[in-house]
Symmetry: C2
Subunit: 458 residues, 2 copies
């Protein structure tokens, strides 16, 4: 009896919380990344790349908190290592470490994977891309940098294809000054956490919480709610805020900053309908010290902010005595991609095939097909040469399946005539032309699709 040896196979699984996309979706993700790279570059940010692994001592210099529990940390030989959990700590390390080689203001973008061992659940990722920009000053950093951020957010999301979004802006000095002038500085953290619930539970219930749990007097809680309710056009909001001027120096400084941030919006090309001052935004408690930003998809508020950040006073205090103020924003790219995909907001208009043209040889001698593929590539057309010996039906089926926009056919007739047949796979139209003309023809036909945005709002 013959003995059959069957090798045990390992299931090719991917860990939960780790995104691994099918090719067509990956193409959409690549398009998003490419838009981010291009837009960030357009605003004069230089690309950076830092290690995924750092010494745990360096990465956890700040220490403590929720972060430390989630971190991927391990030994390798004698070394205590950890995977980066954001791109801000590596930036701080980079700027402190390369300080003497850098010119300030230092503007960098970084699109990279970060790691957090969160509890696995749908739509939560343990490995995910962040796409950050930061401007770092040496000692000082002008408010104009804070004023420019909404322009960058606007351009980024517009290029991605979003139309219905709003950039919400506030200023931490304004908040801190307001709490100080009302003698509530010590309760500021608690108040902000409570006010954060306004959207969900409404003003009445927030007022009750401020009285019952934060132990505020009713008139003080009224003050808070009146302040938070200020809204309208930028001019209207600033007019209302001017009424508080002169009562607290920090407040006045915050108001001056907010005035600069709104002053040049038009010159920065940001439409007023995509921008709003929102006094309820606070973004965490310690880190930010000036302007803060959130970005909401107006028809999908349930997604939360898709681009957030703010001004901070001291980037790298754990690594250096230098005072390094900065302003930055971050896009949680993997999560953004995931929710857009779930919501059906990713466009099918962009070409997601691996190529624009698939050359299908149907003769024994492949020289004309190879030459045609080479000519297409020289003309800038992403071209695949199909070499498998299959029936025509299988070949054209493959073209269909990969979703290639054009098939380029080379049978005996075409070879004898010295032409190629270019078949538009969407319309079915087929026409003969010299191989040298095919690239220009295909590129012209794809012109509109190459301009299509990756996000398509219904």
């Amino acid at each position: 009896m013959e003995r059959i040896f069957i090798m045990a196979k390992v299931a090719p699984r991917t860990l939960s919380g780790f995104m691994e996309l099918p090719p067509k979706e990956q193409m959409k993700m690549e398009k998003m990344m490419s838009v981010l790279r291009d837009t960030y570059s357009l605003y004069g940010f230089t690309p950076l790349d830092t290690p995924v692994i750092e010494s745990a001592e360096v990465l956890l210099a700040k220490g403590g908190g929720e972060t430390e529990k989630q971190i991927y940390r391990f030994q390798k030989g004698e070394s205590d290592l950890a995977l980066r959990f954001d791109l801000t700590v590596p930036l701080a390390k980079y700027v402190a470490g390369h300080y003497s080689e850098l010119s300030f203001p230092f503007r960098r973008y970084q699109i990279g994977k970060v790691y957090r061992g969160e509890r696995a659940q749908r739509g939560r990722f343990r490995e995910f891309y962040q796409a950050d920009i930061d401007v770092i000053g040496d000692g000082k950093l002008d408010i104009l940098n804070e004023a420019e951020i909404p322009a960058i957010i606007y351009e980024t999301f517009t290029r991605l294809g979003l139309k219905k979004f709003k950039i919400r802006v506030n200023n931490r000095k304004l908040l801190n000054g307001f709490y100080a002038m009302n003698g509530m500085s010590e309760k500021a953290g608690e108040i902000m956490r409570t006010v954060d619930k306004l959207d969900k539970i409404g003003a009445l219930k927030v007022k009750q919480l401020l009285i019952d749990e934060v132990k505020m007097l009713p008139d003080k809680s009224e003050n808070v709610l009146d302040f938070m309710a200020i809204c309208g056009t930028n001019a209207e909001v600033i007019e209302r805020l001017e009424l508080y001027r002169g009562m607290d120096a920090t407040f006045d400084q915050g108001l001056d900053e907010l005035i600069v941030v709104t002053k040049y919006l038009k010159e920065f090309g940001v439409p007023e309908e995509n921008f709003a001052i929102d006094l309820t935004i606070a973004r965490g408690l310690d880190y930010y010290t000036g302007t803060v930003y959130e970005t909401e998809m107006t028809e999908h508020p349930e997604i939360g902010s898709v681009c957030s950040g703010g001004r901070y006073d001291n980037l790298a205090e754990y690594y250096t005595d230098k005072q390094l103020p900065g302003v930055g924003i971050s896009i949680g790219l993997t999560r953004l991609f995931y929710v857009l995909n779930e919501q059906g907001l990713l466009s099918d208009e962009i070409v997601t095939a691996p190529c624009d043209a698939l050359v299908l040889p149907m003769t024994e001698d492949l020289a004309p097909a190879v030459a045609a593929a080479t000519a297409l590539r020289q003309g800038g057309v992403r071209t695949q040469l199909y070499g498998e010996k299959k029936k025509f039906k299988a070949k054209i089926g493959y073209a269909d399946k990969i979703g290639v926009p054009f098939a380029v056919l080379l049978g005996e007739d075409e070879v004898n005539e010295g032409v190629v047949s270019v078949k538009n796979m969407q319309t079915g139209e087929q026409r003969k032309m010299p191989a040298g003309d095919a690239a220009a023809y295909i590129k012209a036909a794809l012109e509109a699709r190459s301009r299509a945005a990756v996000i398509l709002e219904k």
Copy 2:
């Protein structure tokens, strides 16, 4: 007495074996990656992204060997995890796992970081980029795919700026067939390892080693050296190889494959001077089964092969029963960048500044400067708006230091005249023009530099 609290700083160090570049060098690295992405796309490869972390069981399905010792492996909760050490195993996992969603041949490229805990030494990296392409067939894969690989290698390195390089090609069936016809199959591994020293120690010493250590008869070792010494044009080499035809079926098959691989070189656009059949190339012992490739910088042989790969018969046998033959090549991008930089072969011609234009406002009202920056960006010029309140000398010093090609000055005069002054920072030439014309002017002036290649051979 006042008590001063001094916080202990953590040194912002980067682990040894991990590359972290200054901004200008990072720009060159980005340019290299961008060329690779563009070229791989041009040949119809789809970009893939797979997790850096995988289950150790999945990643080490093949098990054993040197790799396992070098791997970064750790526990997180209950999970036994590991960092990928190449892009081939993740590809095998991906193709096996997504088999039903893919169309074959499946052509993917992946540029990503991989991890190997090697002994630290200069120029050796523990975290490094690989840039891989592979074509995977389902059951079968036509030899034309092997014939296309030299074209991709040629286009990639030509676009990077290299001129003096040679793609060396061999075929494992040819080698195995040759050893079989000489009754040396069992010693094939030992012989190949010895023959690999030809370049270093010469034919005489290799012959002695074959006799003394591999225990071959003198005439047999002579046969090996005669075979390995076959060289010349493709036609000459093939003519010599034809003399062995008919003695071993595997040899004959290898020779037929080699004939196809060389047959269409011209149509693929590969100049004969960048290509050579080299019978001494073997590339490892088990994995490759057909054509194998190495790429040498002809003036820097000490660097070794900068792009290698080959044909294999079974990509994913540890994950699936499907037979998945493929052909692929890999560039060790981090090491390549490192050696090019060390050799002074990276061009200073490309723009490494974070921007093409730096807008320097010199008036109180910044509106005209902001509008000028916005116009430049709308015209596609990477633009930084300099907002710091410094003296003119400091501003222009910053422009110099970041190496920006153009400064765009807006003083009272310019604002009153409704123009901007564009200063070419290389030539010192300065001219006034409407802000709306500046983008086209700057783009035209940068045309040549934007076409510059990242590698510049002296």
